[in-house]
Symmetry: D3
């Protein structure tokens, strides 16, 4: 159904609320590590202001270059705690979204937007504290002429997103957690963070990663040779 | 005369002061919409610090890669309320402009700079609150060897700019308003903003764009079909 | 030795402390000018937060795409006042470095990182006030499988860096000063800055660069013709 | 299962041979149109020589930057008529594939390669007439250190590809046809091509698309106004 | 009128036939030099096959991302010897043009296409020997929903093009010659080429550019110092 | 001395002729492998026509954006068997080199050009069979105003090149072999090629790389699990 247009789905199965609440505590880097280094959107997806952060369930939409019609249909599907994920049928940088749509999204309970295109009204969005991750900032407006789809699976910035998946965004980027795995990933994130806390304390005291992670023998086996001076290298 | 070099024009016809003062109240996105979605510079033109904003009349300059000589000639032409628009004969990222030239521009009444190349002394420019929109930040200095032109029409970041046109820049980018249309565009911007204010209130109350803009029939005609569940899609 | 792997050098010859302390007073643009416009890294190297600033001696490392092993070896070589410069054997955007490694670097006296790849934990690094210049921000984690080198000469973002060279980074980018030239460049920077101070005062008073730098005759000789009105141009 | 590693699947369900044979007759542009304008890989995927062409069933593989190990596992899975589709866990341009692997692929019945990374031995591959679509050409070699997956679903150059799907590549790019839709898409392609043949004849005789497609009234309704001379435009 | 939509102009003033015929004899590099190094489109505009070459008068069109409607209107305006120049209101890579439209253009006397977007049916266009310069190759099809303009001034790939201007394209790119200057530029091109012929003979005999162009004194004055060995450099 | 300007060195130490002759027999990919995967220039350096090939000793030059003066000085230094390597002080795409300079280079014994910028007269260069690797093709001409250097070490497309080093270019890119290592690298290339010949024969017979390189145990140890069907994956 990827790429198919003309479909708007009303009911979706969202990830369990408790798992979403858990995931909200962790950063994007931690979560993607806890998922075996999967789920990241492409790094060109950047927050429109530093410190932006979101965690919610995905309303997906697929639109066309220069046409933001499906964002209005997506607004209709929003429930409190949702994040809109907008994919495009072909690369484009128009400004699809501004403070009016953000006002509408927020009024319906929407928490933020992930969009593989451009946005505008950046200052106003930051004043509203409405988080957006986008490929571009562009004042250029859009039309409403061609239908796409809402709440079908989409490929957004290189990642497959299904409606109801958990979307987490922070200064490091955006990660998608499949709804069915949300609880398991939250648990794995918690464990990873606990481990990192103890490692951080050891590193802070001056201990080296080489020793904490027992890397010295592996480095030697892999061929690293230590020299006292560069002139000793033959 | 586009691209012709060796010309420096002293007197230009600036957009009417009243119209410039009016346009200063609106954002780049609003103004470009009020002009029928024309006049934007390419979206790679970004402010060097968040919150930068400018509205003034254009002193245009055309220079060559790695050569900022014409910015000194442009300084001579500045009157209070002007903004320098610097185009290049070929793409380049050198740092053409820093705090010394900004000091000179400001002393002559210059309000800001739009440059299809690089700038430097970013921290100092932000401390001075001197707004610049550029393609790049680069410390690399320039020479003064080849003449270009000042106050001839230029193509800057994909947009045609004539001397005396109104230049507005904000966090969303840069728009150019032809001098002869400044009053008309200011009026259209005012009307657009008034309309948006009322729409914003309705959206804030939870009303949908689909209803406010009467989109439902058009969506149906364009082929959008609603389904309750994804499994209902054949 | 450029590009050779399997080498970790313990002792390097650092630039004299006094010269490093002097260079810490100047901006990247000033220093690169004082070096005859050499030494800049490519302008795609950007600080991960505005206002980041560093000046220290280089510990160099060469690693492979998606593999941050050598950063752990680099940590071992750090002495107070050092900055790690990390080059890659092939272009890559993984997130090689985050708050754990920053904690380790700082514990060993490391002042910052220059990396021709991606970093993550941006918010945490900013909170720590740990300055990093990178090509990308990416949450994607790395492995530790293949050895590179530490403290051999590297080409990082287009610039040759030798261990012990002085690295200065600010909002304008990154410059490398060869260790043997550090004192001479610091002196030249001081002279340049003194000259700029007096020029700035003259520009501030409204004097033009055209007159301060005696450019008028040169412009004429180079073919620039002044016209009162554009209609005078034949 | 997208992005999961450590899995190599031996048996896959390939699209029906007859449908693949039918699709081999059509161009990429025609097929993607027949699928409702879906299925294209990103346009940065280019053939390594002009005139390259392939149509076969997908063996999918997921690998890591600088590591071509999974291409060797993919070779094991090849049956006559297959095309390998290689996705990466993170963007990379290494030369993953050259004439040795092409020799192996061909010996096993492989028809070509679609790879979201770099290739090398371009001259030799062209002499062998072994078609490859890639993001880059790069001589840089790879290691074999980390496992990915073979014959799991992958996102390659922005498109979802399942093992057994039909892959068609020509000078215009690459399109993926889901195995279950192969017959239906082949039929739709045939119909489209038939229609184009008759349109081509009319256009060749000088008839205009405006008349053949009855566009004149729609253009007028959409606001296009004809003027005899540019001076007539008010 | 730049950027204004809803206008289709029937009659335009073409450059004189004799001048166009003269310009057809020279390469893009020669012509742009003869115009004082002006008139080039951006270098990302590449021919879709090596050896493509065109010289004709411009029919201009302005369209929107993903919408090729105006190419059909442009076809109606074509007279023998014309070249269509297609600009976009915002950057886009769709495949706007293929062998059907090429058939139509040729039937009306059109010689080629310059398009700041994508094209498809590359193999067929090459077989037809129909020259196109484009920003991208992409199989992705377009819609016909929004009007732009035909035969108004456009900015295409950074260059201002007026209807009736002369367009020359070859392997080096595309240059536009204003209609009013066509004869003068043709003459200057002829002179430049004559001079190059004699220079080429001298260079072929082993004489150096340093001597032919009397550069030795200028190099010395500009600060170039010759050393016999690198060790002589202090 | 990297980046220093104002220096032209007449005598350089070239790699031994016999070693250059040996290296001429191998491809770029083979040579870079034989050097431990070092020495490649960035992959954006592409031949201007397919099948271009060169092997010779480097005359290095450093120039400035839009200024090709140093190519004329480089011509003076050419001896039969040399290849000019041209680096820039800042990124640029001008057309620095065309058929006139190629005529001069060839007359002096020059075999080709590697240039981290643009070239023009592509058709003529291909007719002359004069091989060039460049970052861009651009008709835009250059000036002769500022001195750079000739025969000093340069960083070209990310690689350090010393005068006299061996430069090999083919369809896969460009590799630089330090003069002192030329003989050793030629020998290692010969051995590598011999080994590949025998591997190629085994692969051609249908044997798998998995078996030839004894990868099966390593894959298992690294965590790859084989499944007969995708449904077997838990």
């Amino acid at each position: 159904m990827i790429g198919k247009t003309g479909i708007a789905v009303r009911s979706i199965r969202r990830a369990p609320e408790a798992a979403v609440a858990q995931l909200a505590k962790f950063g994007v880097a931690t979560i993607h590590e806890a998922m075996g280094r999967t789920g990241l959107l492409a790094p060109y997806m950047r927050p429109i202001y530093p410190g932006a952060r979101v965690c919610g369930t995905a309303i997906t939409a697929l639109g066309h270059p220069g046409d933001n019609w499906m964002l209005h249909v997506a607004a209709e599907m929003l429930q409190p705690g949702d994040v809109v994920v907008f994919a495009l049928s072909s690369p484009d940088d128009h400004g699809f979204f501004g403070d009016l749509l953000a006002t509408s999204f927020r009024a319906r309970g929407g928490l933020g937007l992930i969009i593989d295109a451009g946005v505008r009204d950046i200052s106003e969005l930051q004043q509203m504290n409405f988080p957006v991750w986008s490929k571009a900032v562009h004042a250029k407006g859009t039309i409403k002429a061609t239908v796409g789809s809402v709440n079908t699976p989409v490929v957004c910035a290189g990642a497959l997103v299904n409606p109801g998946d958990v979307i987490v965004g922070d200064d490091d980027g955006v990660v998608v957690v499949p709804a069915a795995k949300a609880a398991e990933v939250a648990q794995a994130s918690r464990e990873r963070e606990a481990k990192e806390t103890s490692t951080r304390a050891r590193l802070k005291s001056g201990e080296l990663g080489l020793d904490i992670y027992s890397m010295r023998d592996k480095l030697k086996a892999a061929g690293l040779v230590y020299y006292d001076h560069v002139d000793d290298v033959k």
